[in-house]
Amino acid sequence: MDQDLNLFREEASAWLEKYCPKSMRVPILDQKEFYWGGRKSTFDSKDQQIWFERMLEKRWIAPHWPVKYGGGGLSLKENRVIEEEMERLGCRKPLLSFGITMLGPALLEFATEPQRIKYLNEIVAGKIRWCQGYSEPNAGSDLAGLQTKAEENGDYYLVNGTKVWTSYGDKADWIFALVRTNFEVKKQEGISFLLIDMNTPGVSTRPIKLISGISPFTETFFDNVQVPKDQLVGDLNAGWTIAKYLLTHERQMIGSMANNRRKLSDIAKEQLCLKNGILMNPILRTEVARNEMDTEIFNLTVTRAVDEARAGHHSGAVSSMFKYYGTELNIQRQELNMALRGSRGLEWESEASSQGFEARTFLRSKGNSIEGGTHEIQLNIIAKQILKL
């Protein structure tokens, strides 16, 4: 079995080496070099298009999804091998997609067969770009308190309300949204999961500007939007189960995204003086060491959790730990990065600072402990679900 996997790895590696264009194996320098698919997108380069089309044909856009849904029908282990080899060879992702990372898993678990066939195939082919409609202005941490309502009316739902923090709401084609379909019951029990075409009359978006400058977020407004009933996923009023399932996914993604960055100590060596091989600012040296060590140990803990999951131990609530701890380390890192750069780190609109890249990244990091469930919510979950307090 492991032998088979080694063979698969060799083949995958050889294929990638052969078919991944050279320009698709250099690091991304600009957001627009990512291909997100969807009705409004075009390819940024010929190579980008070639790479996407080859991977699509190879059925490696979503290698572990079943073939009938556009996937490659491979095992999770084979999927992991492809990911590892792509990372090793520096191959870019052919398609970035919330459809694959967020909506797809939910559809595979909860959707009807016709829904899966339609939506999953569209996602893989890069035809439809999805965004997520969960948060609302008056229901931040209290997600289940959402008020966007969907009323049954013949063969459609009439949707009214406002969502906030929709990532790329202005660029997406469809939105998967949580809506309230029953106001009479416990708040968690009156929520449904709807798929909505953003071309439907009554849907509009407005960009959200963050303290760090422009942002990918929008507010999304629903004004008497008619949504056909076959766009409901799962049972009516059973949307909360789907939402929780996806939140756990999201947390894991956010918590473990803090990789592939310059070592903080390398930045420290560049920004501060060394004397006899020791950083001359003893306070920052200590804090840098602590952050680097904690980051290393955090990564070990991610590995350990994976190893334990393989060995059959798995706890959903642990994702709250990763979200909390991983984002906290990144927030501290950004604090230290600012301290290391002194007054140069404060620059906001100079060429030397790439229009304030460091300062804006720092400010943006303050949102890490808020989005995807605040620190407070994660700590509540650990206390309740793991410690049973």
């Binding site: 941490s141 404060l346 303050k366 808020i370």
Partner: protein
């Protein structure tokens, strides 16, 4: 001296608060930022501040000033911290006027104070690296005729692109002295850099630039000026901290989640209570340090470092917590709370961050 404001100081503070809330609330800073104002401050407002007497507070009466003292200027700065008002008050009145008071000859005092009181903008140029290090001055002064010429490059010069004059630190015969330079003198190049807090900073270089006078007192004047600047900054930071905290506590009461106000959650209550305690500490050290300037205390360096450490640590804590407690709304540019974290970081770096000053505190105590 009691650790409370006198009645006069209290009145000045209230007048400043009312003036600033009316004339220069945070919306004023937002407008300056969004219109990409070329000056980066409002000259008319600045003249009104001068008319209120703020540029005269620390200047002795014999030179036409009010001789009110640094506690007074500190209280005004605290109020500008609450409204995040940007103006040349720090560069001109806190730093340059102090340098001239400490090191200027009688004649120069008469000449410069007149301008300073009127609100002519002076900028203080000392840093040469991204990390504040007062002993690191490579800018050189050379004798030239009856005066001097300066050569070197300064960075993080607040209001450097709009100043009429600079007070510049430079080395002459192995010691650091302060010089006054006309902003339109030959050999000066300047580049405006807009900072995170939307305020003005500049890189300024001098190439054989005539320096029209030299201040006496040398290094003592230089270091004491820096200490006065640090204490004034700490006072401004206290004001910003108080305002950010007050808004956060109000938000805790107002924002509802899970059917209750979020201020009813004990974890948030405890964090708010800890912030309250820390802010009380900042109040004490800032007032004490301001009083010590007026008392011409010999250990001003220690008081300055204490004030800058504590104000820096606490403003960081409070502005971080403010964003966290405001949640997603706090991350948006529409909400004003984000302006506080931006000013917090810039003020923290100016004239030495808390790491610099904690290290200095230990050194000054011989360990």
């Amino acid at each position: 001296m009691s650790l409370v404001l006198t009645e006069e100081q209290q009145m000045l503070k209230i007048a400043a608060k009312e003036f600033l809330i009316e004339k220069a609330p945070i919306a004023f800073l937002r407008k300056l930022r969004d219109t990409e104002d070329e000056m980066g401050y409002d000259p008319e407002l600045w003249l009104e501040m001068a008319a209120m007497g703020w540029t005269s507070l620390t200047i002795p009466e014999e030179y036409g000033g009010l001789g009110f003292g640094y506690v007074g200027l500190g209280e005004v700065l605290e109020e500008t911290g609450r409204t995040l008002t940007c103006s040349p008050l720090i560069s001109t009145s806190l730093l340059c006027a102090s340098a001239i008071q400490l090191g200027g000859s009688l004649g120069y005092k008469h000449q410069f104070f007149q301008e300073l009181i009127k609100g002519i903008v002076y900028a203080f140029a000392t840093d040469e690296q991204s990390h504040h290090d007062p002993d690191y001055v490579e800018t050189k002064a050379e004798k030239a005729g009856s005066g001097f010429v300066l050569t070197g490059t300064k960075t993080f010069v607040l209001d450097g692109h709009v100043a009429a004059k600079y007070v510049v630190s430079a080395k002459f015969e192995e010691r650091i002295h302060l010089f006054v330079v006309d902003a339109d003198a030959v050999g000066i190049q300047k580049e405006r850099i807009i900072m995170m807090d939307s305020r003005n900073s500049s890189d300024v270089s001098f190439e054989k630039t005539p320096a029209i006078c030299m201040l006496s007192g040398a290094e003592e004047t230089y270091h004491r000026t820096l200490d006065i600047g640090r204490i004034g900054l700490a006072s401004e930071m206290l004001g910003a901290t108080l305002e950010a905290f007050q808004r956060t506590v109000a938000y805790l009461k107002e924002r509802r989640q899970f059917g209750v106000s979020i201020g009813s959650f004990q974890a948030l209550q405890h964090r708010a209570s800890k912030m309250f305690c820390e802010i009380e500490m900042v109040k004490s050290i800032v007032l004490k340090a301001l009083q010590m300037i007026d008392r011409e205390d010999e250990n001003l360096a220690i008081w300055a470092s204490m004030a800058k450490v504590k104000a820096g640590e606490v403003i960081k804590l409070v502005t971080n917590e403010a964003i966290q407690i405001y949640g997603g709304i706090g991350m948006t540019d529409d909400e004003e709370i984000g302006f506080f974290i931006k000013r917090a970081r810039a003020a923290q770096v100016t004239l030495g961050d808390y790491n610099f000053h904690l290290d200095r505190y230990a050194k000054l105590h011989g360990y």
